[in-house]
Amino acid sequence: MENPATSPKKSSKGGWISFLKGLLPTENGSAFVPPFSLIGWIFLLAGFFGAFTFGWVVYPVALYSRQPQPISFNHALHLDPDVGGIEGDTETEKCLYCHEFRDDGTFSGIPKLAKCTECHDDPESPLGETQQEKEFMEKYVAGQKEIPWLIYYRQPDCVYFSHIAHVKMGKIECQTCHGDHSKTEKLPIYRANLLTGYSINIWGKNIAGYKTNTWDRMKMDDCAECHTKKGHEENNACFVCHK
């Protein structure tokens, strides 16, 4: 018996091209009746573009929540030397003033209220003249209530990340991964995936998977890409980033 795998292929004439030709409406009375009329084509294309728009435009927007942060924090104002903002020799040192490392090397992340009240200690006398600060004083400092920040880069439970290994030992600037926040005046809207609960900053802002900045997406492949680029393949071992 002939092996179908090794037998010569059929002429392509009977294949895709003639099939697609058959889909087009023909006027000369050929024996083949096309399955679509012109109306059918309109419906097909309308359906296709409708589904395409829904999948690529509507769904990515509808998938994520839109939550503003509890208070409007201005990074640029806090780092402005003209109003007595935070000073430091390097950019990283300025960041570390609030986003500090604890003595045991763990990273504090978004600071607690205690860090704010190191300067904003008296609820009666605000340091600036902004309305946001007054609100912050009344709502949180006066009542000693922690600010319920929404955390953009909270990784899933199974992920371990050491900031100190990257910043202190790897000598990477904060802004390399997070962008330059010394000039941002507003906090971005927090957007969580309504199905998984993870932030859009983790999954990636672009549904097609393209990223232009490091801070657009922080997934496993992004970690591995940088480790490999910097010649630290040994840090791609599973337990370096998993726990």
């Binding site: 090397g105 371990y160 050491s162 290994a165 202190k168 030992m169 998993h242 726990k243």
Partner: protein
């Protein structure tokens, strides 16, 4: 040696069976440290999950000559042809050549349990149910954020408290060091053992106590003949205990000549 990451470590454990009293503190410490879930009915030991299991063996003799020994058994972190790693179809478990620790990634595990079948030491357990922590008993307050919880349908095993290694590394980085001192990274069972029967350290580092202990004539490993090169060593001066650790043909086992103790 200055490179730090390059040369690699090989973390291992030496358990002195002559010191072990079989109290089970290592099991408890391990369960508390690694967020081990409890079953609604913990009396069913075939289904309960432990990373560190205590085996009791006896020499099988009549009363006046009866002797008992306990084998605490963590994951052996096999160095050579690691059986679980070689069978895993999902690459959910790997041996890291820079620490010598066999990882287990729960989010990657597909729950086929091939590794359980492959492991000669029964060091792996399967989650038949989602983790259960009785409400209102305060158990949830003991959960460690450093160890991720397991979900139903995945395999778990001892990780040599890998999160403690990461913690120790973070601490060292804060002091601008890359090398860890001996004792900076030890497992929870090592720390908890009241008899101090467990010694933990880097087998490749000649300054660590473990690398000295494994050279002892009383040192042996479980099922050594399989050639999996476990990184958990045992010490026992008793011939019958050492004989228990493997299967020997008649006349194959070589007892160590009696030496004067003390």
């Amino acid at each position: 040696m200055e490179k730090g990451h390059g040369h690699g470590n090989s973390y291992g454990m030496v358990i002195d069976l002559d010191k072990c009293t079989g109290c089970g503190t290592c099991m408890v410490a391990c369960a508390a440290e690694n967020n081990l879930a409890v079953r609604p009915d913990e009396s069913d030991k075939q289904r309960s999950i432990t990373w560190m299991r205590l085996y009791k063996v006896t020499n099988g003799k009549e009363f006046p000559h009866t002797e008992v020994c306990y084998f605490p058994r963590p994951c052996m972190q096999c160095d050579h042809h690691t059986p679980c790693v070689s069978v895993c179809p999902a690459t959910a478990t790997k041996m890291d050549y820079h620490t010598g620790i066999v990882s287990q990634i729960y989010t990657r595990c597909i729950g086929c349990r091939y590794c359980i079948a492959a492991c000669p030491y029964h060091a792996r357990t399967f989650n038949w149910w989602d983790a259960y922590f009785p409400k209102g008993k305060g158990l949830e307050r003991y959960l460690s954020p450093e160890v991720s919880p397991r979900m139903r349908g995945v395999v778990e095993k001892c990780t040599f408290c890998h999160h403690r290694l990461m913690r120790a590394k973070n601490n060292a980085y804060a002091e601008e060091r890359r090398e860890l001192e001996e004792g900076e990274y030890i497992t929870a069972c090592t720390e908890a053992c009241p008899a101090q029967a467990i010694t933990f350290g880097d087998l490749k580092n000649p300054e660590h106590k473990v690398s000295e202990l494994v050279k002892s004539r009383y040192a042996f490993r479980l099922l050594e003949k399989l050639g999996t090169e476990p990184k958990v060593y045992y010490l026992s001066t008793k011939d019958w205990v050492r004989r228990m650790a493997d299967n020997y043909l008649p006349g194959e086992f070589k007892p160590i000549a009696k030496v004067k103790l003390g």
